[in-house]
């Protein structure tokens, strides 16, 4: 990377690969491990393509299909002074590493009275349209486990900057990569070289005055589409893209809702006990007297992710259901 002030057009996936490339190139303590990540194939969806060829298979390590072994090796290597970046192929497979990540990675700094820390990153993809065991969004589980940060970028630029922040961070970080975004061929402007998006800082990609649509990850494009539709109807929606779920940027959310006095929270995780429940409760607790309407949550049905297209279409929210909820809170 020569010019740090130039930009290039990248897909979401290319931005992730670029961040990993920069981290491996600039910090000798960084290494990657995960199933199928070495060339060939360079990851099942090719996100790590080229990296083992460039940096060697000692630093881009393909593993057996052993999620506990992957997570444990990352934890131990972090204790030993390295900065591992582990890939757990899909979020549904995070069920296999909960003991390592929650009982060990997340709690170890606290249990050791601050004498130990674990600078490790776990990347995992949220699947899409692959049925109940390959498509789930379980980020609320990790929000509920003190000691692990959770990042959920929605743009290529944020994906790169947040992933670089996670890798450089001294706490365990979970980095979410939604499949619809990973597979998207859409390119957008991404700064070249190393830059960081701070963990715990939301963005406001669209400013508005009538209502706040609070979103993250794969629902942010839908929130933006909804805002554009609503603008044509004369409703000025502000979109808050959280980017991180832990720490959560209370300030940006509350500033936005204090201004608009109406809020709709949306995510692909289940509505029941989902991240939106915490965000909604926080808004009600802090802004009770100022709200024009109760906060609405637009999220997935409380069912396993269905396979049949007819059910899949109504299981998760989209731009039209978000817009519909906004219209309801505007009445």
């Amino acid at each position: 990377m020569t010019a740090t002030h130039t930009e290039s057009e990248m897909t979401f996936g290319e931005a992730i690969n670029d961040a990993l490339d920069i981290a491996l190139g600039s910090d000798p303590t960084v290494f990657l491990l995960g199933e199928d990540i070495a060339d060939p194939p360079g990851g099942v969806v090719r996100l790590t393509q080229g990296l083992s060829t460039k940096y060697g298979t000692h630093r881009v390590r393909a593993t057996p299909i052993s999620e506990q072994a992957i997570a444990g090796a990352a934890i131990g290597a972090a204790l030993g002074g390295l900065r591992p970046v582990a890939e757990i192929m899909l979020m549904d497979f995070m069920t296999l590493v909960m003991d390592q990540l929650i009982n060990h990675a997340a709690k170890h700094r606290y249990m050791s009275g601050g004498t130990s820390h674990l600078p490790l990153t776990v990347r995992t993809r949220i699947g899409h349209r692959r049925g109940a065991q390959h498509s789930s969004s379980y980020e609320a589980w990790f929000m509920h486990a003190p000691g692990i940060k959770v990042c959920a970028p929605a743009t290529a630029q944020d994906a790169k900057g947040l992933l670089l922040s996670c890798i450089a961070d001294d706490d365990p970080c979970l980095f979410l990569e939604p499949t619809p975004m990973v597979r998207s061929r859409r390119r957008s402007q991404v700064p070249a070289g190393d830059y960081r998006v701070p963990i715990g800082q939301a963005a406001v990609p669209v400013a508005g005055t009538d209502v706040s649509i609070i979103s993250y990850g794969q629902m942010t494009p839908a929130a933006l589409d909804a805002a554009a539709t609503l603008a044509n109807e004369g409703i000025s929606a502000e979109v808050v893209d959280l980017r991180s779920l832990v720490p959560l940027d209370h300030h940006t959310v509350l500033t936005s809702v204090a201004k608009t006095r109406r809020a709709v929270v949306t995510h692909a995780a289940a509505r029941f006990a989902g991240p939106g429940a915490e965000i909604s409760a926080m808004i009600h607790e802090e802004l009770f007297g100022q709200l024009e309407r109760p906060v609405r949550r637009v999220a997935s049905a409380f069912t396993p992710v269905p396979f049949a297209e007819s059910l899949a279409q109504i299981h998760a929210p989209d731009a039209s259901t978000i817009a519909e909820s906004v219209r309801e809170v505007m009445t």
């Binding site: 057996p64 506990q68 934890i75 131990g76 009982n103 009275g113 720490p247």
Partner: protein, 336 residues
Amino acid sequence: MSTADADAGARSLPVSDLLSIYRTMLTVRLAEERFMRGLSRGEFPGFYFPVRGMEAAAVGVIAALRRDDYYITTYRGIADVLAKGASLEAVFGELLGRVTGMSRGKGGTMHMADPERGMMLTTGIVGSGTPIANGLGLAAQLQGNDRVTGVSFGDGATSIGALHEALNLASLWNLPVIFVCHNNLWGECTPLDAYTRTARLAERATPFGIPGVTVDGTDVLAVHAAAAQAADRARVGDGPTFLEVVAPRILGHNFGDTGDYMDEAAVERARANDPVPKFGEWLVAQGHLGRDELEAMYQEISDEVEQALAVAVNSDMLPTDELHTDVFASGVNAPR
């Protein structure tokens, strides 16, 4: 080096090393007895997982490692933690949740961490230390140093998947890790032959291409010899070893468990083969230690234990404003 040569080597260790091993074993024994007596008498609240009968199994391994080697242990880990160099004050402080504890009381009985001395983590989850040990081994391998990682776990851990994933990866990556199975013949309250048909637990390593060694865990020098061989292998790049150290548990699973489900005759045999007096008597028989010196050491360590426990009992607990510190790195605006 053959096993016989290694064994002879351990028996001809410098006398100062032999006495240091005995001192550590006796410290573990007396610290445990005193702590459990305090719990029984109601001097302080707490909980505890006894290691009586397993002192040689733990101390023998760690005495064969270097100071800068890494170790991971379990909730039944007081012998490992003391052998790795922690002070009695730090251990008692942590058992009682006081600021003088090694983690200032934030970890407690099941989570002793003493990274300065290489005791990297104590897990309360059966078998979970083994995948983490691989990471420490991998760090040494990638950093190009010759540190070895030991990880101890009970025989019960041989029933859990994490260990088998860890063995496969350690073998595949030729990691400098010693998998130390403290086989005390009990998985909590279930005897070994009621939960597996594997006759010798070290055989679990063989299909992964890892040497599986079984040693008498009541003979501290036999344990030392086997661990020294495993450490040598790991240090020169020959990869992991599975070291099964057999040392029958004498007490119940935890303090308060009377062990009424244990076979009395077997427990009596284990008591008669108690590794601590056995090694003490050997030192006397070899002329390394006079009987008066043996008794003086007992008194000296008893006094150290008493003083260290008094320090812990009289120490404060963390102030309440410490509740939220150490969840994340400092400066993180975390949820409260």
